[in-house]
């Protein structure tokens, strides 16, 4: 047995095996992930006549559709910009509070900050709709008989802030934690006041992370579909319009709009990789008086107070309000229990089926991404292919930057009846398999990024040691590299699983008749069965929250593996 394993390991360690492995991984990476999400370009060019007929020169609507698109796009860009500004105003001070201060309940605050991330977007949109827009949320507090804000641009912004501010807070938190405080102490010893220290020392150090985080938040906001679908009212954003156009079978215009979103996303992605490092911060001149004034304790208190107040009021409570709503509307004839379990339409059955669908889709996506992610991470980190590695490294993030409905639509076109496989009637029609493929694609970066970071951190010394001890390179991979990557694999898996569990936008485009849990929530909100939707949200939130708690536990435990030398 041992001999057999050793033989297999030896043959898998050969150069030939490695080349075949690399080639297969790259082939899958391009065919399953990259080409389908860029297929939209080919499609638009091929179908240009159709596209221009529907958008620009339609005999009935003229160019109104083009104007509509422009409006939606501008609205999306504006929403994203305002969202990012609010994100920075709340997320940046929050990161500082979490890293620089020591206080009772810091761990609790830290968990609370991550909590909204556990709320899948569809559940989130629903929760926010209930809090701001229904008679039972904020209206109830102020004694009004209907919601304070109706669905529309403002509610979209309030929703987007909740799931995008972690990009700022988490990025900055990590940077601040790894940062050497001696620089700041040195500045203080040189006579700089707190505010000046922050502006001249801390800010330049966190600049890159802040810009990268802001761009990511912007792209996420630009492409979000699931939550927006619930709160948009009549203010269509670009991703929503894609969903609408697709549901009207206007594939040409939908592809055109998706393509514009993809182009914007790619430009932003390239910006992250290239210019974040080069942007300088203005003025090194110090306005001594003003800054001395601003360094007063009062301002710090004000800043901290406002940050925590807005965090609680704009983010935390609205994001979790659906739970409160559920418990208020649990029993009674219109309560969740009665609606879900004792009605003739058997909601519990569809809930159960969609839950199983979600879980199995997430599990398959996770498993496949473990294999593909490992292979790609090794290629990017270990193979010395120069420029090609750098290109691969950028391409890996591509699915992350592309709006989910555009991504779903492009994949739908690629595999479907009007894609490159049209001669054989398309390979995949909307349904379970296509949902799995879409989920593999958009969760791929989450897994691979974590693995790349971890692999880069592993000193190759461990692997060299293993080989001098007589282990073949594949044995080394099995016995040394994988155990070293164990935490990263777990963390990546949980990220992928949670994201897959909560995804709505892309799923909407490719689901056909299959339902996942977030889609079910959207369905029920649309049929105004709010208690049932709250019930489904609750299940989804609890699942995700447990997974995120495990994730936090793993990532904090990671330190143990580091040996002090």
């Amino acid at each position: 047995m041992v001999d057999l394993i050793r033989k297999i390991d030896k043959s898998l360690s050969s150069k030939k095996a490695r080349i075949i492995g690399d080639f297969t991984s790259l082939l899958i990476f391009f065919v399953i992930i990259i080409i389908p999400i860029l297929y939209i370009f080919t499609y638009v060019i091929q179908e240009w006549n159709d596209v221009s007929f529907w958008i620009f020169n339609n005999p009935v609507s003229g160019s109104t559709r083009f104007v509509d698109m422009g409006t939606a796009l501008l609205r999306s860009l504006m929403i994203s910009a305002i969202t990012v500004i609010i994100d920075i105003l709340i997320g940046l001070p929050m990161a500082i509070i979490l890293v620089k201060y020591d206080f009772k309940g810091k761990r609790i605050l830290d968990t609370l900050v991550d909590l909204p991330m556990a709320v899948p977007t569809a559940a989130l949109g629903f929760s926010i709709l209930l809090f701001w827009g229904s008679s039972s949320g904020i209206a109830w507090i102020f004694g009004l008989d209907r919601g304070l804000i109706s669905p529309g641009v403002i509610m979209i912004i309030l929703t987007h802030v909740v799931f995008t501010y972690p990009y700022i807070t988490r990025n900055i938190k990590v940077i601040l934690m790894n940062q050497d405080e001696t620089l700041e102490k040195a500045a203080q010893s040189l006579g700089a006041r707190k505010f000046t220290v922050f502006r001249t020392i801390t800010a330049p150090l966190i600049k890159e992370g802040l810009i990268a985080g802001a761009i990511l938040a912007f792209t996420r906001s630009l492409g979000e579909t699931g939550a927006t679908l619930i709160v948009y009212g009549v203010a269509e954003t670009a991703p929503i319009q894609i969903v609408t156009l697709k549901s009207q079978a206007l594939f040409g215009p939908a592809a055109f709009l998706a393509m514009i979103l993809v182009i914007i996303a790619i430009i932003l992605l390239i910006l992250i990789k290239t210019i974040t490092r080069k942007i300088g911060l203005p003025v090194y001149r110090v306005f001594v008086r003003t800054e001395k004034f601003l360094s007063k304790k009062v301002f710090r208190w004000l800043r901290d107070g406002f940050t925590i107040f807005f965090f609680g009021f704009l983010i935390l409570i609205p994001a979790l309000y659906s739970i409160d709503y559920l418990f208020l509307n649990l029993s009674g004839p219109n309560g969740a229990i009665n609606q879900v379990f004792f009605q003739s339409d058997n909601k519990w059955a569809s809930l159960w089926i969609s839950l199983m669908n979600s879980l199995s889709i997430a599990a398959v996506a996770t498993l496949i991404n473990i294999v593909l992610g490992l292979a790609m991470a090794i290629i990017v980190v270990r193979r010395k292919w120069g420029k090609f590695n750098a290109i691969l490294d950028t391409l890996i993030d591509l699915p992350l930057a592309i709006p989910s409905s555009a991504l779903g639509f492009s994949i739908f076109l690629f595999w479907g009846t009007i894609g490159p496989f049209r001669s054989i009637g398309g390979l995949l029609t909307p349904g379970y398999l296509l949902i799995i493929i879409v989920h593999i694609v958009f969760t791929f970066p989450y897994m691979t990024r974590v693995l790349i970071a971890s692999l880069e951190g592993i000193v190759s010394g461990y692997e060299e040691a293993s080989r001098t001890l007589g282990a073949y390179s594949f044995t080394t991979f099995r016995k040394v590299t994988i155990p070293l990557l164990r935490n990263a694999l777990l963390a990546g898996s949980i990220m992928v699983f949670t994201r897959s569990l909560g995804e709505t936008g892309a799923t909407f485009v490719v689901m056909g008749l299959v339902r996942t849990i977030p889609v079910t929530i959207v369905d029920w909100v649309e049929s105004i069965d709010l208690p049932s939707a709250a019930f489904a949200s609750f299940i989804l939130i609890v699942l995700s929250f447990v997974l995120i708690l495990i994730l936090r536990h793993i990532t904090t435990r990671e330190k143990i593996l580091k040996i002090k030398t």
């Binding site: 000193v459 293993s466 080989r467 016995k479």
Partner: protein
Amino acid sequence: MVDIILDNIKKSFGSVQAVRGVSLKVYDGEYLTLLGPSGCGKTTTLRIIAGLEKADSGEIYFGDKKIDFNVPPEERNIGMVFQHFEIFPFLDVWDNVSYSCKVRGVNKDEIEERVSKYIHLVNLDKYVDKFPFELTAPQLQRIGIARALATGAKILLLDEPLGALDQRYRDEFRVEMRKLVKKLNITAIHVTHDQDEAMMISDRIAVMRKGSILQVGTPGDLYIKPNAIFVANFIGESNFVEGEVKSIDKYTQIKLHGGGPIIFSKNKHFYKRDRVIGSIRKEFVKIKEFIEENKLKDNNLIEGNINNIAFLGSHLRVNIELENGDIIEAKVTYPPSIQFEVGSKVYIKLHPENVLLFPYPEDLDYELALE
């Protein structure tokens, strides 16, 4: 027979020539050290022997067997100890040490026996089920040694194994490691930049610089008969003086530059008027009282002024300025046999056999640099 033979090994990284034609024979059971400043190619040479790096040209033999550069490390049957230990963090001590047996498919009973033997040899019996993060750096390196030995290999490669340890553990380790290697009768190649370590631990030392071996010899050879200014400078501590050969009879007479005094050397490989560098070990510089009759009795005394004295416990470091401005440092065991203080006029005596001569190099600064 596991002599290790390197024949004209060359290796470049891009435009940097790391190893420029190294040839070396390491005898069966020998403890040999590759000694040199950082960047001299010693670690690259070791990694080439281990198979962790492929040489560009040259040949390697283990015994009579030629080792192709493509033979991967796992098939070379060597043990290697790393500077940063590289103890697998997710395995306990036992699993770390038994790793090589397991991946090679050694049967259970033998693993049990071999692993406990080597764990015992490095005194870690108490720690078998500890994980690396629970151990100290010296303990980790003990695991590193046991793990390398448990391969059963007859060749042990050590890459700065004591580099990451505190000074006070190093001395202890040196003695222990040499004993261990000798007891197990294995051939060891040890890489270090620490000359004390090399002197203490090795049968022979190969001094490397800029990718080449300058001299191979026993610690004694290198100390007494260095064949290059760099070796004289790197091993032990020497004074270097500049001068010209005046005459050659019983001894070679050298007139020091700048109108300095004459010194004598036993070395006779030079001609009159040759420019030379004289090298004198600091501990061979003797200080004599400044009394006229001393000078009458012995014409090999040089006049000088003491301009600095440093007390270092076991010995003093005394700087003596000669009349031409050269400064000679003497290491004088404490307590000194004569009285002196800063400002004292003294004679120094340099025995001719302790004055080594080297031809004046093209680039003296380069020869005297320690890198």
